[in-house]
C-alpha cells in the first residue's frame, strides 16, 4: 500500500509540516515521489514509527539521523549501531530513574497542599509538619534529596 503525507500525519498524529521537516532533515531517506508528491510505503511507516518511539525515549533527531545513516551503510556499521543502542539504553534508563525520583517531590507537594487545604493555611501545616508528615512521604523526600 501507498499513503499520502496527509494519511501518514493522521495515522501518527503528527502535523504534515513535521513530516516534511523530518524528510528535509534526512530522517526519511527513501521516500518515493510521483510528480513531486510523496508516496509513503509500509517501510516508511516503520521508519516513522521508530522515529516516534526513539523521540519518546528521549533521543534527539540528529542522533536518530545518525543511526539511519549507519543503517544505509550496511553490515559494516552493525557494531556502531549496537553501541549506539547500548549507550542509549543506559541514558534512557537513567532518565527514567531521575524522573521517578523527581516525581517524589511532586507527590510530596500534593500531600503538602492537600494537608494545608484541610488545615486552612500553610502556616498551620508548617507548625505541625514534623508530626503530620507520613513516614511514606518522609522517605519520598529522602529519595528526592539523594543523588
Amino acid at each position: 500500500m501507498e499513503y499520502t503525507i496527509g494519511e501518514i500525519a493522521k495515522k501518527f498524529n503528527l502535523t504534515i509540516s513535521q513530516i516534511r521537516f523530518y524528510d528535509k532533515e534526512g530522517l526519511l531517506p527513501e521516500i518515493k515521489r510521483v510528480n513531486g508528491i510523496r508516496k509513503f510505503t509500509d517501510s516508511d511507516i516503520e521508519t516513522i514509527f521508530l522515529i516516534e518511539c526513539l523521540k519518546k525515549a528521549d533521543l534527539q533527531l540528529k542522533d536518530i539521523k545518525q543511526f539511519i545513516e549507519w543503517t544505509k551503510e550496511g553490515d559494516s556499521s552493525i557494531e556502531k549501531r549496537l553501541n549506539f543502542f547500548l549507550m542509549q539504553r543506559e541514558k534512557t534508563k537513567a532518565k527514567i530513574a531521575a524522573m521517578k525520583k523527581a516525581l517524589c517531590m511532586v507527590e510530596y507537594k500534593c500531600w503538602y497542599y492537600e494537608t494545608a487545604q484541610k488545615l486552612g493555611s500553610v502556616k498551620a501545616l508548617e507548625a505541625k509538619k514534623e508530626k503530620l508528615t507520613p513516614k511514606k512521604i518522609k522517605s519520598l523526600l529522602k529519595k528526592a534529596h539523594k543523588k
Copy 2:
C-alpha cells in the same frame, strides 16, 4: 549562612549564567543584594533545589514560575497550587510510562544488533528473525506498539 552565586552554582552543578537567568525570569524572587551582589540564603537554596527537581519532573520554567507566584500570594492560592501539582503528578507519571514503553524499542534494537553481530549480517538475522526472537523481546515489541 549566606552564599555567593559561584558557591550556589557549584553546589547545584549549574552555570552561573543559568542562575542569573532563573533570577531574571522571576523564579528566585527574594534574593538579597549587598552592593548589587546576590546573597543566597538557605531558603533560596530550597527554592533552587525545588526548581531543579521540578525540571527533572519535566516541568517548564514558566510553569514553575507560575507556582512560585502563587506561593507569594499566600493561602488564597492553596487550591490552585494543589491542583497544579495534582495535574503535574499525572503528567509526570504519563511521561515516565511513555518512556518505559519507548525503552522497550531501544532494548529490542540492542538485541537485534547483538544478534546481527553474532550472525555476521543483518540479512542473516532477518532470515531467522521469527525463530530467533525471544518471547521476552516479542512481548516488549508488542508493548512498544500498543497505545
